[in-house]
Symmetry: C2
Subunit: 436 residues, 2 copies
């Protein structure tokens, strides 16, 4: 036998696809490098520079070359506990409960790798949870939420799901709050209600709160407060600290779930070893959450609020349905209003709609549909509002001061590329689709 390397892959991974958001971003990055003008409303990456004190700290620690403790250096884990005490009023966290890794995505993945049971996901949901379940061979149950419920999980939906499915005794719910792709958050009341249902059924919650500190009015609520014994809190630096490329995330496990934490830590020791050492030392500066860091955060999130609110308003003006976002970069508009005109052009899926928009006007949106666990013939799209020069906008916001609210003029002047993208989108639709 010579060189027969066919079928070396796990058969169930034959059509395994890379993360659609990262791939689309690479494609657009290359087009732009080649000189093309593209309105990139498809990728959720912070437009802002990293807080200056943190880059200085990284510089100071550039020579750190040792393998660090698998779960992260003690001072970093302590600062993460202090941070959640300040921001979420979680009082009793112990650094021992924290596992730091190269991004929260990696940590969710390792949790799934060691977890024994079924996984409950919402629809719509972030594009990576399901492929992670696929890679780790989990049975997944998808719970379809509705725009009327602002895409939230309700106790009724959860109860119905449990009643109508024959599930493993162990269940892990992945809850994204604030949500990607919808920008929706849960209220205290909603979380309390959910908690009692989750507690009743002994369901473990992975609460992905990566957008928590980008809540527009800094009023994020965590389910860890109401369901502490069953909640694994997951977050990182990618969003509020604009440090996606730094790759630093963490999970905080309740003591009740120590066996899971220990197994994840073991798996971590055999996979990523530790998060990058210079990055860990620099991250302490951010989690110390000084007044200056908090001010940085406040400026970033109010700029996002301004541009998010503007985008929402413009979409609604032409009959597009969309839930008002309260955090983060994303909205999930539904272009059902265009169905008739699109159908005349032979366009019946959100993928086709997004392709047409990209071909005709170089406005990139991420199609809803299966990637977000939505039906293909639903005209939802994930729209990211962050295609602008964040450094420029941040400077302008600082100059105005936090007391002066940001106007639509600010959005036009400082978030121009997103502003223009929304405008171009409308003009194109109006031309191609006379009903708008």
């Amino acid at each position: 036998m010579e060189s027969d390397y066919s079928s070396l892959l796990r058969p169930d991974l034959a059509n395994y696809c890379p993360a659609s958001n990262l791939m689309l971003n690479e494609k657009i990055r290359n087009l732009r490098k080649a000189g093309e003008k593209v309105y990139h409303l498809a990728f959720g990456q912070s437009p802002f520079p990293i807080y200056e004190g943190a880059t200085k700290a990284l510089c100071q620690h550039a020579g750190e070359n040792a393998y660090l403790p698998v779960a992260g250096i003690p001072e970093l884990r302590q600062s993460i506990c202090d941070f959640h005490c300040k921001t979420d009023d979680l009082q009793d966290l112990d650094p021992e409960q924290v596992v730091v890794g190269p991004g929260s995505k990696e940590l969710i993945y390792l949790l799934l790798e060691v977890f024994n049971g079924d996984v409950l996901l919402l629809s719509p949901c972030w594009t990576t949870y399901k492929p992670q379940c696929h890679l780790t061979r989990h049975n997944v149950v998808v719970m379809p939420t509705t725009m009327e419920d602002e895409w939230r999980l309700t106790p009724d939906l959860l109860e119905e799901t449990l009643r109508t499915n024959d599930l493993h005794r162990n269940k892990l719910l992945i809850l994204c709050n604030p949500d990607n792709p919808t920008g929706t958050c849960y209220s205290q009341h909603q979380l309390k209600q959910l908690s009692s249902t989750l507690r009743k059924h002994g369901i473990v919650v992975l609460s992905d709160e990566i957008y928590a500190r980008l809540h527009y009015t800094d009023n994020h609520e965590t389910i860890a407060k109401y369901y502490p014994e069953g909640t694994i809190l997951c977050s990182g630096l990618s969003k509020w600290a604009s440090a996606g490329g730094w790759r630093l995330g963490y999970c905080v496990y309740p003591r009740e779930l120590d066996p899971l934490r220990c197994a994840v830590k073991s798996a971590a020791s055999h996979t990523y070893s530790c998060a990058s050492a210079p990055i860990q030392y620099a991250a302490v500066t951010l989690f110390n959450y000084s007044d200056e860091v908090q001010e940085y955060r406040a400026h970033c999130s109010r700029i996002l609020q301004a541009v998010g609110t503007y985008s929402c308003k413009e979409l609604r003006a032409v009959g597009v349905k969309v839930v008002q976002p309260t955090s983060g970069y994303y909205i999930l508009p539904n272009f059902e209003v265009l169905r008739k005109s699109l159908s005349k052009r032979g366009i019946t899926t959100c993928t086709q709609m997004c392709e047409a928009l990209f071909e005709e006007a170089r406005v990139a949106l991420m199609a809803g549909g299966p990637a977000f666990l939505r039906p293909l013939n639903e005209f939802t799209t994930r729209l990211c509002v962050i295609d602008f020069d964040g450094s420029h906008a941040l400077k302008a916001s600082k100059k105005l001061g936090l007391d002066v609210p940001l106007s639509e003029e600010f959005v036009k002047e400082y978030c121009g590329q997103t502003y223009d993208g929304i405008q171009v989108r409308h003009k194109t639709c109006a031309k191609a689709l006379p009903c708008v």
Copy 2:
């Protein structure tokens, strides 16, 4: 039902242990912090500082905050290809074949996650391969090598293994060359012979060459040269560039194994996303492999040669058997000579022997036995020769210049802690074990 979180773990992970090397290192780090004097001959982490030009580059790129292409930035992948052209005479590498990740360990793990077939390991072997196979649910076949063969895989051993085991049609061999834990390397002749057996059976090779650039005489040979179509070459910055804590590794896939590379890239996009951005930019400086970088490498590896050779000589002087290392930090001495005296004290395993040595003399060695896939009653131990101030030694070596060979006096003066550890080890043995 309330809060019943028992058995949330995969049943087969009930006794899943963290990487024994990392755990032992954490334990000793804590003892030292508490003021204890410990001779740490148990952990293989470069004692040298990172090349200055690379830390400067990291500083310059501290503000890089974007998610980068999943497989790494193009300039880094290009520099890795150029590097292997220079160092290994691998001429036709294409950046497309390279996947960069947060450490080579993570990349081996993801390869195992997507690979469909059995895994062939050697005994002794690095402590992490088997736990990775466990996590990814692979059947593992262990091939016991012998000290007579200098712990190398031979074509005969491979053929016998295939003949006497009923294996999956797909097989992946993990070959560590230069080897951890034995310091053994393969010659051109040996690799050619192995290649024809591997080719005959269509076996994929993961060639872990993380210690290649620490070959004492810079004469490393890679199997990728003789078996290009079936070899995945794996390496990183942890060893020769003293950047273990930076977390940057890579795999180079042959075009013939593109389906595996693509699946790993997809898995990467759903797990670590990309290696840390500032680290990636800084790494280019190292892979450009300037004269200055090469000189840095030459000084580091000749210091390791001096201290490795000294340690070997001292051990042999008291009848301990050990293969002369030709690369890296490790040797795998066998203390069989002590069996009788140890047995009088009730010590019959290498673990007990190492525990006694640690308790009585604070010399830490990693016991052989099951962690390295060796029998528990064999008195092999992994000894790392790098417990000294590498910055100090590097300066002294530079001052001497590369033309002046390093003497045993150099080892005594600049690698003092390892030197002392070896001496203390002997005195303790001599006292406790009159036969030595």
